[in-house]
Symmetry: C2
Amino acid sequence: MLKYPKGMRKTESKSPLKQSTSNRGIALEQELNQTNQYYLDLNIAVIHKKPTPIQVVNVDYPARNKAQITKAFYTKPSTTDYNGIYRSRAIDFEAKQTDALTLFKLALIHEHQINHLKAVIKHGGIGFIIIRFSSKNETYFVEAQKIIDLYYGEKRSIPYTWFREEAYLIPFSLTPPIDYLKVIDQLYFEGENNEKR
Amino acid sequence: MLKYPKGMRKTESKSPLKQSTSNRGIALEQELNQTNQYYLDLNIAVIHKKPTPIQVVNVDYPARNKAQITKAFYTKPSTTDYNGIYRSRAIDFEAKQTDALTLFKLALIHEHQINHLKAVIKHGGIGFIIIRFSSKNETYFVEAQKIIDLYYGEKRSIPYTWFREEAYLIPFSLTPPIDYLKVIDQLYFEGENNEKR
């Protein structure tokens, strides 16, 4: 459906994501934040990353009205990382990246995220997962229902070839870097006026 | 519209919220969390509080795979605290409480929250603010547009009497404690089947 011309695909060698392995997850997050900021600035959508949940144990007040947290722990999130509103539809998604060449391990998705996406679909939202194969510098849009079905199947990983068939390659652009709403336009608003931006 | 019978109103003396002033804000948050958990458990809606945004500066690893944050700061949120999906509509709101008897100070609402609620309305979501007068133990549902209009007006506070006229008293119940979706049913789904729960 969203066949992406081979010649336009961003080549690996030029990607800043390739500079360091440890930066890859951060790069995906940064690109999504840039994308969401672009959508917000241009009044296209209002989608934000949720803050990382942290349990605060100790707080000091070295100065008046200046709280400094001195002991805290990361806690497990009960939802996905991103949500918001686009064309009156609730948007909810998780983003994952993998270094693997030939498969995506389902263990990278947590059960609470699966449960949350099930609830999102049930209540009428658009739920999906953005998956980046950093080795190939390809970023896919995967409908949540497809991942949910696979999650409860027998296999513990999804082959890369599956993404080529069943997921949607998000076209690379500079502004915004990950234009995932283009895929949503095609999947959920086909036939409507998608040229307004 | 949502006239709430006087005799049913929860009396102040019985309220656990009255036990301590400092607990009041926490009590409102806890009651909203209980309410949202109830909605989730009964498959009525999927609405969550966003985590408090924290900027992490230092992390120690006292044990393998056990990260302990040793220096961090609270940062300003760019959105409201609560959002989710109900009956295919995106839900987005902020909750505030005041000890004042006769007015609500608009300074309790931050400009970024007003801007966010404007974006929510623009993109087709249901935006509102839940305001508790803890001295009266009354919790009101206020449509975001009304607060936005007042926010850009000349007055810096809203008299309590305004809430009696223009806002909707959320009926008190034990499960859930703050059944704000009842107000949304009346305001946004009037005439539809609201008896399904």
